[in-house]
């Protein structure tokens, strides 16, 4: 073996880290080469010195300091997990109110937008949809400002509808009574059997989706009443 190769293995040779064949080859070279023997002496001194290096020791309070730190850490962990109360949920009103208002507005717009409408822009009723003659449901706008105001003041849909129905029935009864009176003449008032009660009109929210205006009350002296009497 050449000196260069031997010197690359010398540190391992001095630390007994080579296999037997390598060890034998190097020892044979060392027996003939003094320069490599000097190198071997240096490596052996270094190996011996590394075993005799001064031991570095920790301070005497090392254990107590360490255990104190661990105790502090355990206390901090226990405290954070067990003793701190759970956080109450925080409601951010500055975000909740606008979101709620937006949601309400969206619902309102959806209700208005998706309500069915007829050609004139008024609301569709079941009658116009099915083609039945429900002319008594035809309403006309009230021209009297006072009536309009009073109507709007005490207006509720179901109340007005019920009132309108009653007045309608009463007007029919009065017309008939007036007709019978004319017929009866000197024989007195003829008892008129009451008209059969009309079929109750079921309350259908879409059906009555109108702005009801109370039909004008038909008094016995009204011109339309006299004309009806004449027809009979």
């Amino acid at each position: 073996m050449r000196c260069r190769k031997v010197r690359s293995y010398l540190s391992a040779y001095c630390n007994d880290e080579l296999n037997s064949s390598h060890k034998l080859a190097i020892s044979e070279h060392l027996s003939t080469c003094s320069a490599c023997r000097c190198e071997e002496a240096v490596y052996r001194s270094m190996s011996q010195a590394s075993k005799e290096l001064p031991k570095l020791m920790v301070s005497s309070e090392f254990n107590s300091k360490l255990l104190n730190r661990i105790a502090q850490e355990r206390f901090a962990q226990t405290r954070s997990k067990a003793y701190l109360p759970r956080r109450a949920p925080i409601i951010r009103w500055n975000r909740a109110i606008p979101a709620f208002a937006t949601a309400c507005l969206a619902v309102l717009l959806a209700v208005v937008a998706f309500s069915p409408q007829n050609e004139n822009g008024g609301y569709l009723t079941a009658s116009t949809a099915t083609g039945l003659d429900d002319s008594y449901l035809t309403v006309q706008p009230v021209s009297d400002a006072n009536t309009t105001t009073s109507l709007k003041k005490n207006w509720s849909l179901s109340h007005q509808l019920a009132q309108w129905e009653r007045m309608n029935r009463m007007s029919k009864v009065i017309i008939q009574q007036a007709a019978w009176d004319d017929l009866a003449g000197p024989y007195g008032r003829v008892r008129v059997s009451p008209l059969p009660s009309p079929r109750p009109v079921p309350y259908m929210p879409n059906y009555y989706k109108v702005c009801p205006v109370v039909q004008t009350y038909m008094s016995p002296e009204s011109p339309s009443n006299r004309e009806a009497a004449k027809a009979y």
């Binding site: 540190s11 190198e39 240096v42 031991k55 920790v58 254990n63």
Partner: protein, 200 residues
């Protein structure tokens, strides 16, 4: 004490620590504090910083005691933690400097005295070790000073076995380059003179 016996003792102690036994943890500290100080004290130049790193190592061991895998060696695990902390400390301080012995200003006289006296050679070696690059220094300390087997050094450093052998060999050659002039003169002097070696 055989290697297997030491391993078993470590396993028993760490198992007790996992169950909350602080006395077992104290015993574990006593077993490893000197070994860790011997490694970390030579990686870092300051003794106080080395002690802080060793303390931090044991705290990390305690914090992660439940995550220890019994398929691995406890000594490998604790050395790995300690070296990683030491590397972090070195990076923070950036105090690593690879310098030649001839560049040591102000310490030349002391170093010369150390080199001449045979009993001072370990101290001289200690000084020269501080000048090695970090990766060679760690491999040399674990192999030649702590006398860990090559495969354990490879696990601690997280590098292949061949790389460990290469780094250890390279570190020895660097130290030899630094120490050779003085050692040769010492050897020549010790052979030629009749005076007792201790007086040189």
């Amino acid at each position: 004490m055989t290697k297997e016996t030491e391993k078993d003792i470590d396993y028993d102690l760490i198992r007790a620590v996992q169950n909350g036994d602080l006395v077992a943890f104290d015993r574990l500290v006593d077993r490893y504090k000197s070994r860790l100080m011997s490694v970390i004290g030579r990686m870092l130049s300051s003794r106080e910083e080395a002690e802080d790193v060793v303390q931090e190592t044991f705290i990390r061991v305690y914090q992660h005691r439940q995550s220890f895998n019994f398929q691995h060696c406890f000594s490998t695990w604790i050395y790995t933690i300690a070296l990683n902390l030491a590397r972090n400390e070195l990076r923070k301080r950036k105090k690593f400097k690879f310098y030649e012995i001839s560049e040591m200003k102000g310490n030349e006289a002391e170093f010369a005295v150390e080199m001449k006296l045979p009993s001072r050679l370990p101290q001289a070696l200690n000084t020269v070790i501080q000048g090695l690059p970090e990766k060679y220094r760690a491999a040399f300390i674990l192999r030649d000073i702590q006398e860990l087997p090559y495969d354990e050094v490879a696990k601690v450093l997280g590098i292949p076995l061949g790389t460990v052998k290469s780094r250890v060999n390279r570190a020895r050659m660097m130290l030899r380059d630094k120490l050779k002039p003085k050692l040769e003169s010492y050897n020549a002097l010790s052979k030629s003179t009749l005076l007792p070696v201790s007086l040189l």
